[in-house]
C-alpha cells in the first residue's frame, strides 16, 4: 500500500485531466493498478513524463532491440547517457546525438542552444571531456521567410552555445526540402574523450547515499517538455510557448568543469543530466539502473522562484542542472567542489533500501510508486506497419521518362544549377559562425573534407566524425535509405583516412500510430541494422524523436547517423580537394543509370520519386577497406565520395570547395557512354569515391586486390583549365571561378535577406553572449 495523498489545491483527477497529460485510458488504468488507488496530481505528472515516448520508447523499443550493439571495442552500448568505445592506449570516446526539433520550431535560437547544452551534458556525465560538436539540420524551402528565420536562429543558437562553452563545432549536414516545412529537424551530437578507467555510469547505488541536485536553480521553464516532444506540432502547440527554456552556456561551462572534477574526485557514485522531464526522469532512471529505491524532498531543491509546487519542481526542464549520487558522508566535499565553481549543490534525497520511488514535500508524501522500474514498466506498443500504396507507386515511377528541360542541353547549366541548391551548396555561411578550432585539436574542420578530423592528444591517433542521412531516400524506400545513411556516413569518415568504428543515431519520424509511418520507422531501423552489421559499426546509443509532422503530414523519415571513426595516424588525415596539377583522378566504384531520389530530380524537376540508388553493403565494405589501404599506403592526395548531385558535383567540389586554392580537372567518362548521360553525371549511385593520386598504379592494384572497381578517369589541372567532363554527350566545360561562385555564394545570398530579421530579435543584442 502506498501512502501519497493529494496536496491541498491539487486539481481533481478527471478523465479530461488524464487526457491532457497525454495518457490513454489503458495507460491510466495501468497506473491505477500499479498504485492500487487513484494517483495524485503529482503522480499523474510524473507518469505522464516518464511514459512519454521521449522517456519510455514505448513504440520504438522492440524495433530498436534488433540493432547490433556490441563489438570488442564497445565499452558502453545503449542505455546510458552516451555510448562509449575504446580507441586504444587506455583511451575511450563517448558520443551521442539528440534532437531538439520541437523546441527549435517554436523558438529557434533557444531551442537549438538548449539542444547543444543537453547533449554536452550527456557526454560529460560519462566522465568524458567534450572535444567536438556536430549538428544535423533539416529545414523547409529557403524560399520562405519563416524558414530563413529558423535557419538564422538555429545556427546562431548552436554557435553561441558551443562557442561560449568552448567546444569546437566541426561537422554536420544540412538539407532543405519542403517536407520539413513547419517541423525543422535540429539534431546535435557531442563527442568526448576519457580515460577508460574514468568511465562513470548513471546508476544509483548504496543505501544511505545522498542524492544531490547540482548546478543551476530550478525554475518554471519547460514544464512537460518531454511530453511536448511527443506531440504533433500544431497551432495549438504554438500557444504553449511558455515551455521554452533559456540556455546559459556560461553556467554550462562551469558545470562541465565542476562535473569532471567531481567525477575524478572519487566522492560520487553516479551522475546524470536533468534533461527531458528534469528531476523526475533523472532520478527514476538512475534508481532503475541501480535497482534501488529513492526518496526526494522537493522542499530541498534550490528553486529560482517562490511558491513552486512539487509538480512543477519535478517536471521543470530548467537547463544546466545535474543529479548526483554521492558517497555517504561525502556531501560536504561535493559541495566544496561546486562552490569553487560558483554553483549550488543541495542534498535533496537519498538512496533507500525499500523498493519505492517516493517524493515528499517536507513531511508530506506527494508521490509514491512501488518498485524500481518506473520507466520500463510503461506499456509497450507494437503498432501496425504497412507501406502506403502511394509510397509503392512513388517508388515504381519511371523517372527516366521525365523529359529534360531545354536548358539541360548544356550539362554545364545543370551543374551550375545544382551547385546552387541549398542542400548541395557550401555550408560555410553556417559553419563560419561556429568556433571550429578552440581546444587546438582540429586537424580538419568543417567544409574541407567529408568528415572532420580531431587529433587525440598524447597519441598519434585522430578521430573522424560526421553526421549524415538522406531522408528523401528513406522516404522512397525506408530499408534501402536506412542502409545508405549508415553507408554514406561510413564512407565519409573513411575518405578522411579513418576506420569507421561505431554510430549513434537520432530517429526523426512522424506519428508512429500511423501504419505508414511505423512502417518507415521499422524498415529504416532494419536497414540501419543491416548496414551496421556489414560495416562493423555497432550502435552505441541514440535518440528517438517521433511526431515530427506538419499539417501536410510527416516529415521525411530521417534516421540521422552520427559516425565515429579512428585514424591510427593523424598524419593520414585526407581532405576532399584536389591540390596537385598532374595528379591522376581515380574513381573507385561504378557509375550506373540510377536517377531515383536524386537532388537533380528534386531541385531541377521538382520530382521526388523513383527507387533510391541500390546499396550493396558488401561492396561498401570492400570500398572502405581499399580506400583505407590506399590512404595508409600514402598514395592518396584527396578523397571525396559522390553523394547529392552525383559525380559531376563531386568533381566540382574537388576543384573549388577550397575557394582560396582552386584547381581544374579534365575527366573522361567514355566507359559509361552507353548509360543515360544525366544519370552518369548527376545520378547518385552509391559506393563511389573520387580520389587524386600521384601513384595511380598503386591505387588501382590495391583496389583490384580488394575486389573494388577502379579506373583512372582524368587528371588534375590548374584552375585556368576549368573543369571539363568529356566522353558522354556534349562536353561539360565550365570555368572554375564560375562554379565556385555558384557553390559558395548561394547560401549567403539566400540568407542575406534573413540576417536583418534574425539579428533584430537577437537576445544578445542587449549585450550577452556573442
Amino acid at each position: 500500500m502506498t501512502t501519497a495523498v493529494p496536496r491541498p489545491g491539487d486539481p481533481v483527477i478527471t478523465p479530461a485531466l488524464v487526457a491532457e497529460h497525454g495518457l490513454t485510458t489503458d495507460e491510466y488504468d495501468r497506473l491505477v493498478r500499479m498504485l492500487d488507488r487513484t494517483p495524485t496530481f503529482t503522480e499523474l505528472g510524473i507518469i505522464s513524463a516518464l511514459w512519454s515516448e521521449h522517456c519510455s520508447y514505448k513504440h520504438s523499443r522492440p524495433v530498436l532491440r534488433t540493432l547490433p550493439t556490441s563489438a570488442p571495442w564497445v565499452l558502453q552500448g545503449p542505455g546510458e547517457n552516451a555510448g562509449v568505445i575504446s580507441i586504444g592506449d587506455g583511451l575511450a570516446v563517448a558520443f551521442k546525438i539528440e534532437s531538439h526539433n520541437h523546441p527549435s520550431a517554436v523558438e529557434p535560437y533557444q531551442g537549438a542552444a538548449t539542444g547543444v547544452g543537453g547533449i554536452l551534458r550527456d557526454v560529460f556525465t560519462m566522465g568524458a571531456r567534450p572535444i567536438a560538436m556536430l549538428n544535423s539540420l533539416r529545414f523547409g524551402s529557403l524560399e520562405t521567410p519563416r524558414v530563413r528565420y529558423l535557419v538564422a536562429g538555429v545556427v546562431k543558437g548552436i554557435g553561441d552555445y558551443g562557442n561560449c562553452v568552448g567546444i569546437p563545432t566541426v561537422a554536420g549536414d544540412v538539407m532543405f526540402d519542403a517536407a520539413y516545412e513547419g517541423n525543422p529537424l535540429v539534431n546535435a551530437m557531442c563527442v568526448g574523450v576519457l580515460r577508460e578507467d574514468e568511465l562513470i555510469r548513471a546508476k544509483a547505488e548504496g543505501v544511505g547515499n545522498p542524492v544531490i541536485a547540482v548546478g543551476a536553480r530550478t525554475g518554471r521553464d519547460g514544464i512537460h517538455g518531454a511530453s511536448f516532444a511527443s506531440e504533433d506540432l500544431s497551432e495549438e502547440n504554438e500557444a504553449k510557448r511558455p515551455r521554452v527554456q533559456v540556455g546559459d552556456p556560461f553556467t554550462e561551462k562551469l558545470l562541465l568543469e565542476a562535473s569532471l572534477e567531481l567525477i575524478r574526485s572519487g566522492h560520487i557514485v553516479a551522475i546524470q543530466d536533468m534533461g527531458a522531464a528534469g528531476l523526475t526522469s533523472s532520478s527514476a532512471e538512475m534508481a532503475e539502473r541501480g535497482d534501488v529505491g529513492v526518496t526526494i524532498d522537493t522542499l530541498k531543491v534550490p528553486v529560482r522562484e517562490a511558491g513552486m509546487t512539487p509538480y512543477e519542481i519535478l517536471l521543470s526542464e530548467s537547463q544546466e542542472r545535474m543529479l548526483v549520487v554521492a558517497k555517504r558522508g561525502h556531501d560536504a566535499q561535493v559541495k566544496a567542489i561546486l562552490t569553487k565553481w560558483d554553483l549550488t549543490a543541495e542534498v535533496i534525497g537519498e538512496v533507500i533500501a525499500e523498493p519505492v520511488y517516493r517524493v515528499t514535500e517536507g513531511d508530506r508524501v506527494v508521490a509514491e510508486f512501488p518498485g524500481t522500474r518506473l520507466v520500463t514498466d510503461c506499456p509497450q506498443y507494437h503498432p501496425e506497419a504497412t507501406e502506403s500504396a502511394a509510397a509503392v507507386a512513388r517508388r515504381a515511377r519511371d523517372v527516366h521518362a521525365i523529359a529534360p528541360l531545354a536548358a539541360e542541353a548544356d550539362p554545364a547549366w545543370t551543374l551550375e544549377r545544382l551547385l546552387q541548391a541549398p542542400t548541395i551548396a557550401s555550408k560555410q555561411w553556417i559553419h563560419r559562425q561556429y568556433d571550429s578550432t578552440v581546444r587546438t585539436n582540429t586537424v580538419i574542420g568543417p567544409g574541407a573534407a567529408d568528415a572532420a578530423v580531431l587529433r587525440i592528444r598524447g597519441t598519434k591517433r585522430a578521430l573522424a566524425v560526421k553526421t549524415d542521412c538522406n531522408g528523401r531516400y528513406v522516404f522512397l524506400d525506408p530499408r534501402v535509405g536506412g542502409r545508405i545513411a549508415v553507408a554514406e556516413a561510413a564512407r565519409n569518415v573513411a575518405c578522411t583516412g579513418a576506420t569507421p568504428r561505431a554510430i549513434t543515431n537520432c530517429l526523426n519520424f512522424g506519428n508512429p500510430k500511423k501504419p505508414e509511418v511505423f512502417f518507415q520507422f521499422r524498415e529504416a531501423v532494419y536497414g540501419m541494422g543491416d548496414a551496421c552489421r556489414a560495416l562493423e559499426t555497432p550502435v552505441t546509443g541514440g535518440n528517438v524523436s517521433l511526431y515530427n509532422e506538419n499539417p501536410q503530414g510527416a516529415v521525411y523519415p530521417t534516421p540521422t547517423i552520427g559516425m565515429v571513426g579512428v585514424l591510427e595516424d593523424a598524419a593520414h588525415a585526407t581532405r576532399l580537394t584536389f591540390s596537385e596539377p598532374g595528379d591522376a583522378i581515380v574513381l573507385l566504384g561504378e557509375n550506373t543509370d540510377e536517377l531515383g531520389g536524386s537532388e537533380y530530380l528534386a531541385w531541377v524537376h521538382g520530382v521526388v520519386a523513383g527507387a533510391p540508388p541500390a546499396c550493396d553493403l558488401g561492396g561498401e565494405k570492400r570500398l572502405i577497406d581499399a580506400l583505407l589501404a590506399a590512404i595508409r599506403g600514402g598514395h592518396v592526395r584527396s578523397a571525396h565520395d559522390c553523394s547529392e548531385g552525383g559525380i559531376a558535383v563531386a568533381l566540382a567540389e574537388c576543384c573549388m570547395a577550397d575557394r582560396d586554392r582552386p584547381t581544374g580537372a579534365r575527366v573522361d567518362l567514355a566507359p559509361w557512354r552507353a548509360l543515360p548521360e544525366r544519370a552518369v553525371l548527376f545520378g547518385e549511385a552509391q559506393g563511389r569515391v573520387l580520389l587524386s593520386t600521384a601513384d595511380a598504379p598503386a591505387v588501382l592494384a590495391l583496389a583490384r586486390s580488394h575486389g573494388v572497381p577502379a579506373r583512372v578517369i582524368g587528371e588534375v589541372l590548374t584552375a585556368e583549365h576549368g573543369l571539363r567532363i568529356a566522353g558522354l554527350g556534349r562536353e561539360l566545360n565550365v570555368s572554375v571561378s564560375r562554379i565556385a561562385e555558384a557553390y559558395h555564394e548561394a547560401l549567403p545570398r539566400a540568407m542575406a535577406r534573413a540576417v536583418a530579421e534574425s539579428v533584430t530579435r537577437d537576445p544578445a543584442l542587449a549585450g550577452g553572449t556573442a
Partner: protein
C-alpha cells in the same frame, strides 16, 4: 621564465595558452585562478580567450573586476609583460590596460576563420622575434572583435607605432574585404605605450603546429622569450 595564464570563469582557451608555453616554448606555465590574489611569481601574464562571465553585459566587462585582475594591473604598471588574446584583449581594454573597445562584429555574426595579419611593430614583447611587415596566418573566432576608439586616439596610436597587427588580404592590403569584423583601420591588435602589454583578437595559440594548419603563431610566443633570454 614563468608564464601565468589566468583562468576566469568562462575562459576556454586557458589550457590552449598553457600548452602553447609548455609544449612549444618549453617554459614553465601555471593556471592562475581568478579568485586568487597571487601571480605565483609569473614573469609574463596571459589573459586567454573565452567567454569570461559569459561575456554578459559586454565582453570582458565583468572579468576586469576579478580579484586577480588587481595583481595583473599592478604587474602591468610595473612594466611586466601582459598578452591578451581574444577575450583577453577585450578584458585588457575594459581594464584600461589598452586603449579602445571591442564591439560586436559589423556583420553581427560570430566569425570563425583563418585571417592574415601583418606585423606592424616589432618592438613589443609579443612581436620582437618577428620580421617587420611579416604576414602571419592564424584563426579568429569571435563575435565582438570590432576594434573602436576615438579618431584622435587612433591617430596617436598610429603615430606611436602602437598598432601591432592589421588584417590584410593576400596581396598585403589592409582592405575592407580582409577585415573580418569591421575594426577601425583594420586593427587586429594594439600595444600600450611601452610595448609591454599587447592585445589581439586572433588566436596565435591555435597556430603552432603543422598538423593544425599553421605555425605562424610560434614567432609571437618566441618573442616572449627573446627579451628574457637575450
Amino acid at each position: 621564465m614563468k608564464v601565468g595564464v589566468i583562468s576566469f570563469p568562462g575562459s576556454n582557451c586557458d589550457e590552449d595558452a598553457l600548452l602553447a608555453v609548455v609544449e612549444h616554448l618549453d617554459e614553465d606555465a601555471v593556471l592562475l585562478w581568478h579568485k586568487d590574489h597571487d601571480l605565483q611569481g609569473a614573469d609574463i601574464v596571459i589573459l586567454p580567450g573565452g567567454f569570461s562571465y559569459g561575456d554578459y553585459l559586454r565582453a570582458g566587462a565583468i572579468a576586469r573586476f576579478s580579484p586577480i585582475m588587481q595583481e595583473v594591473v599592478a604587474h602591468a604598471k610595473r612594466g611586466g609583460p601582459v598578452v591578451g588574446i581574444c577575450n583577453g584583449f577585450q578584458i585588457a581594454c575594459e581594464a584600461g590596460l589598452l586603449p579602445g573597445a571591442l564591439l560586436r562584429n559589423a556583420s553581427l555574426q560570430f566569425r570563425s576563420m583563418p585571417v592574415t595579419l601583418r606585423v606592424e611593430n616589432t618592438e613589443t614583447i609579443f612581436t620582437r622575434a618577428a620580421e617587420p611587415g611579416a604576414h602571419l596566418i592564424m584563426p579568429i573566432a569571435h563575435g565582438d572583435g570590432r576594434y573602436t576608439a576615438d579618431e584622435d586616439v587612433l591617430d596617436r596610436l598610429e603615430g606611436d607605432g602602437r598598432i601591432v597587427f592589421r588584417y590584410v588580404d593576400a596581396l598585403g592590403a589592409a582592405s575592407a574585404a580582409a577585415n573580418p569584423n569591421g575594426s577601425m583601420r583594420n586593427i587586429a591588435g594594439v600595444a600600450n605605450e611601452t610595448g609591454t602589454v599587447v592585445g589581439l583578437m586572433p588566436h596565435p595559440e591555435r597556430a603552432l603546429e603543422p598538423l593544425l594548419g599553421s605555425t605562424d603563431g610560434l614567432v609571437l610566443f618566441r618573442s616572449l622569450l627573446a627579451g628574457v633570454h637575450a
